[in-house]
Amino acid sequence: MKTVLKLTVSVFKMFIRNKQSLFFALFMPVVIMTIFGLIGFDRVPQTNVGLVATNPSSATQQFIDQIKGISAFDVTTGNLADETAALNKGDRAVVIEIPDNLIPNPTATTPPVKQTVTILQNVGQAQQAGTAISIMNQLLDKTRLAIANAPDLFDLQVQDVNAHNSKYIDFLLPGIAAMAVMQMAIFSVAFVFADYKEKGILKRLLATPMKPYQFVAAQVIVRLLMALAQTAILIILGALLYHVHVVGSYALILLIAILGGVMFLGLGFTISGIAKTVEAVPAIANLVAFPMLFLSGIFFPTSGMPAWLQHAVNYLPLTHFASAMREVMANGAGLSDIASNMYWMIGWSVVLVTLAVITFGFEEKRV
């Protein structure tokens, strides 16, 4: 036990001094989360609106300013030729041509003349254009009623409700945490042990009275601690950068991280057992890890996939790891809510650790 403790300290030093494993374990997940969080797939894109008004009257100008204030619009003003050209290039959803005297002067005595607002609609962006057109309709209606001094019969009251809306970052963060643990567990173990084997370091260790399990235990302990650190760092950064609020129990999150760590450490040791050379490691490891990154619902929900594929990805270990993390972090699930994910992870852990025990050894294959 004392030996394992001392070795754990040494292995920890080696781990944090290894730039490559630190990069994959911490830096890359943080970068991916930051970038995908910045892209923010849930933000409704603004509609590009071109406004054309040559010499608007002061009342009309007020109307134009109202349009500019609409948050769903990204308004550009210009002359008709330029804006039409921009529309043709696909840079505008609509171009709205406003007559100079659209809004009659309130002090004018003569009855107003009917004015025409022309909207050029980009059929390629029909949805945004449609929204813009209906907003324009409402705006014109409201203005007409105001000018006609019609009595105000309706009042639309909008109240803010702080509902728990799952934002994209809430979806992303638990997946990134699961991905980070997987990458760390697979790559750091597979590379390090294939390297130790190739350089004859494991053979040198066999020449000491130490039992191999003591050394493996130290390596596993360090990586499980790393899995906890990764999860904690990602949650903290998510809270600081994107105000991610973890709903569920932290203890349960750590338990899931440990279980995921054990599962993928089993895979890492299996790969280093199979790989004959260090060069073979990235090939095998990527072959296993890469499809899971995109199929296990890390970046996008699996619900968008064809049914047969959804069925297939449900067998992948990372799918259940990410899903368990997400249910607890974003939806506050308890242990019983994620029982099926946990059973899957335990099952995979048993399979992968068994494979590791069979394939991985300090010694060269005995003849």
Partner: protein
């Protein structure tokens, strides 16, 4: 001196290939025992079976009266090992590395003293990758001494080193011997074996072909010393052939070459003969037989292939 290592009928087979073929030898406490032979002779396999690193196909190995097969852990805790081209962890400095290896033996060490022993105390903060070839080999000896072993195994410790680093290593090995440790060393440098070893076993094709002290090996091998010289006046070759202990005499370009089994007898007679033949000798050279010659004679092949 009691034997610290006894090897009896040791055999290693890989399928049909016999890597070590029924060898026997003993190593005395406190001596330097050398195993010589060309690459592929079975030296490393022999060592690794004694160290408990390779399973033994047949035969017995006793280290300090412990049977390697039955007491693998105990044997490993009383031996120190330097493997051929062994490397170490990258992420630890030398001091941390030695402390980590001490943990493998479940003991504490004075890492700085060990480093001082191999003249690496200034490098304690460095990583292994920053060391030169000779420094790496000295480090691996320090690592091998971490458990204060009774026997130190060195597998080709000077292969690939420059002459100066090699001489450094010889001094270090002699110093470790002086500290009372038994050393088993493999090498394919004959010169090294002559300098360091008390006993030498020569291996070729999985077998030990001869075993003795370097001195006896040279004396009993029948490989003579060579005496070459020139003369200012022709002398009949029969005169030289008749000299004591001379086994062969040939005339070369402007001189003669004699092969002698005992130069101490031949040389005085040769100088006496000088008077008889009224010829003056010059450019006289005595080249003593080396283990290289012994090996050549025993196996009919060069040691380095």
């Amino acid at each position: 001196m009691p034997n610290i290592i006894e090897v009896k009928n040791l055999t290693k087979k890989y399928g049909d290939l016999t890597a070590v073929d029924n060898i026997n030898f003993t190593v005395e406490k406190g001596e330097v025992f050398g195993i010589l032979g060309p690459n592929g002779a079975g030296k490393t396999t022999t060592l690794e079976m004694i160290e408990g690193l390779k399973p033994i196909t047949f035969g017995d190995v006793l280290v300090d009266t412990l049977h390697v097969v039955h007491h693998e852990q105990q044997v490993k805790s009383i031996i120190g090992v330097q493997l051929q081209s062994s490397s170490f962890f990258d992420g630890l400095n030398l001091k941390e590395l030695l402390n980590t290896f001490a943990a493998f033996y479940n003991r504490e060490v004075d890492a700085m003293a060990l480093l001082k022993n191999v003249e690496l105390e200034d490098k304690w903060k460095n990583y292994v990758k920053e060391l030169s070839g000779g420094q790496k080999q000295r480090l691996s000896i320090a690592v091998g001494l971490v458990n204060d072993p009774k026997v130190l195994f060195l597998d080709e410790p000077t292969t690939g080193l420059d002459p100066q680093a090699r001489h450094n290593m010889w001094n270090l090995i002699s110093e470790i011997k002086r500290q009372g440790k038994t050393i088993v060393i493999t090498t394919h440098y004959m010169e090294e074996a002559e300098v360091l070893c008390d006993h030498i076993a020569i291996m070729d094709h999985a077998k030990i072909i001869t075993m003795d002290t370097p001195h006896n090996l040279l004396r009993n091998s029948g490989v003579g010393s060579r005496i070459t010289f020139r003369v200012d006046k022709q002398c009949p070759i029969e005169h030289f052939k008749a000299l004591p202990a001379v086994t062969e005499a040939t005339s070369e370009d402007h001189g003669y070459r004699l092969l002698t089994s005992n130069p101490e007898e031949t040389l005085p007679a040769l100088f006496g003969h000088e008077v008889g033949c009224e010829a003056k000798l010059f450019d006289l050279q005595l080249k003593q037989a080396t283990l290289e010659d012994v090996f050549l004679q025993l196996t009919g092949s060069k040691l380095r292939e």
